[in-house]
Subunit: 171 residues, 3 copies
C-alpha cells in the first residue's frame, strides 16, 4: 500500500506539501478532483488550485466513486494526488442521506487503496479539534470525517500531521 | 504518578488507543464513567462505549467528585480508565455556576492523581484549535478545558496527542 | 533570523512556554502588545497577562505596524516577545477592509523579521482545526491566520506546536 496521508487544519499548508511530494515523482501524474463547487467562493478556491497544477498533473473529476477511479486509473500514473477528502466527505453527505451508504462508499475506497501498485498521496482536513458544535449535522460530519480519516490512515504506509507548513510524522 | 493522558480531537481514535493501553494490563480493571447523558444522541454514544467494555472493565459512575473515586477505588484495580474528561468538565459547568468551585473540584482531582499507586489512563478532548467562538460560555468552556488539561497533563508521567488514530508523544 | 514561533490552541499553554523561553535570556526584554481590548472580558485577559510581566519586560504597544517596531526597537533588547499574533490579525481585519492591504502589512512584518539581530519570540493561535464555519468572515480570518502563520513560521529558525503545556518541535 504505497499510500501517503497529509492531514492538517485549514490553510495549514497540507496541500502545498502534498503537491511537492507528488512532484518529486516523475510524470505522468494524476490529480483526482472531488469537489463540486456550489458557490462563487468555492469556485475561486478550486480555480486557484487548478492553476497551480497546469502541465504538472492530468485531472480526473469524480465526486463520489473514488474507489472506481483508484482501481481503474491510478495504475497508469506514477503518482496520484487526491486533494482533499473533506470535499469528498461533503459530497457523501450531500448525495446520501443514509449514513450506512456513506460508510459503505468509504469502505470501498479503503479497500481500493489496499490494491494499488502506484503511489497515492491523499490530503484531508482535521476538523475535530474545536469546540463541539451545537449543530447536529456538523457533529455528524465531524464524526464521519474523524472515523474516515482513521480508516484511511490505517492503510497508509506514511502519514503526516501538518501544522504551519511543517510536517509531524504520524507513526 | 503512574498516570497516562490521551488528548485528541473528536473521533481522533483517542478512546480506542487508551482502551487498548488499559487492556494490555491484567484484570481487574476499572472504568470511571463521568457522563450524564442528557439526550438521545448522547445516550447512543454512551451505550456504544459501554458495549465495548463488557467483561473487560468494572464500571463506576461518578459525575462530579472524581477525586473521591480515584482515592477510594483505583487501588483495588490494576488499571483505571477515565474516558473522557470533557464530559466531566461539562458536568462541572452544569452543576457549578461559580467558576471558583469548578477550579476547586479540578484541583482536588489533580491532587488525588498525585497519590495513586495503580495505573490510571485518562482521555480528554482538545477543543481549542478552532476559531474563537462568539458564544461567551463556549469561550469559558474552552478556557477551562485547556487549563484543566494542562494541570492534569503536568502530573502525568506519559502523555500522547492523538491524530487520526496515531499517537504523538508529548514530552 | 533568531526567531522562535510558538503555535497552539486557546489555553494550550503557549504563552507561558514562550514567556519562560524569553525569561531564560537576560534583561532588558521587550514585550510588544498588539491587542486593543474592545470589551470587558478582553480587558481582563490583557490585565492578567500584564501582571505576569511587571518588572520582567518593558512594554511597547503597537496595534498595526509591527514591522516598524521590530526594525526600530528590538535591537535594544536581548529578547522581544510578541504575544499573540492572533490579536494583531484581528486588528488587521478591523482596520483594513482591503484584503491586499492586510497581506501587504503581513509581508512587511515577515520582511522585518529577516533583518533582526536579537532574539524574537512569537506566539500565535492555531484556529483552523475545527469545523469550517458557516460565517464567511470567520473563514476569511482562518485563511488569513493560517497563511500568515505559515509565512512567519518559514522565517523562524525554531518553531513549536504546543498541546496541553507540552512542546512538539516543528522541523
Amino acid at each position: 500500500m504505497p499510500c501517503t496521508l497529509y492531514i492538517g487544519g485549514m490553510k495549514s499548508g497540507k496541500s502545498e506539501l502534498a503537491e511537492k511530494d507528488a512532484l518529486s515523482l516523475p510524470a505522468p501524474r494524476l490529480y483526482i478532483a472531488t469537489s463540486v463547487p456550489i458557490d462563487e467562493e468555492m469556485k475561486r478556491r478550486v480555480v486557484l488550485h487548478q492553476q497551480r497544477r497546469i502541465g504538472l498533473f492530468e485531472t480526473f473529476e469524480e465526486p463520489v466513486n473514488l474507489d472506481r477511479v483508484v482501481l481503474a486509473e491510478t495504475d497508469k500514473y506514477n503518482v496520484t494526488l487526491i486533494d482533499c477528502l473533506t470535499f469528498w466527505y461533503n459530497n457523501l453527505f450531500y448525495y446520501f442521506e443514509d449514513k450506512k451508504k456513506r460508510i459503505e462508499v468509504l469502505e470501498e475506497f479503503v479497500d481500493a487503496l489496499k490494491h494499488i501498485n502506484k503511489q497515492i498521496i491523499i490530503v484531508t482536513n482535521e476538523v475535530g479539534m474545536g469546540i463541539i458544535p451545537d449543530n447536529k449535522l456538523a457533529r455528524e460530519f465531524i464524526d464521519f470525517s474523524g472515523w474516515a480519516n482513521q480508516k484511511i490512515c490505517s492503510v497508509c504506509n506514511k502519514a503526516f500531521f501538518v501544522v504551519s507548513g511543517k510536517k509531524i510524522t504520524l507513526e
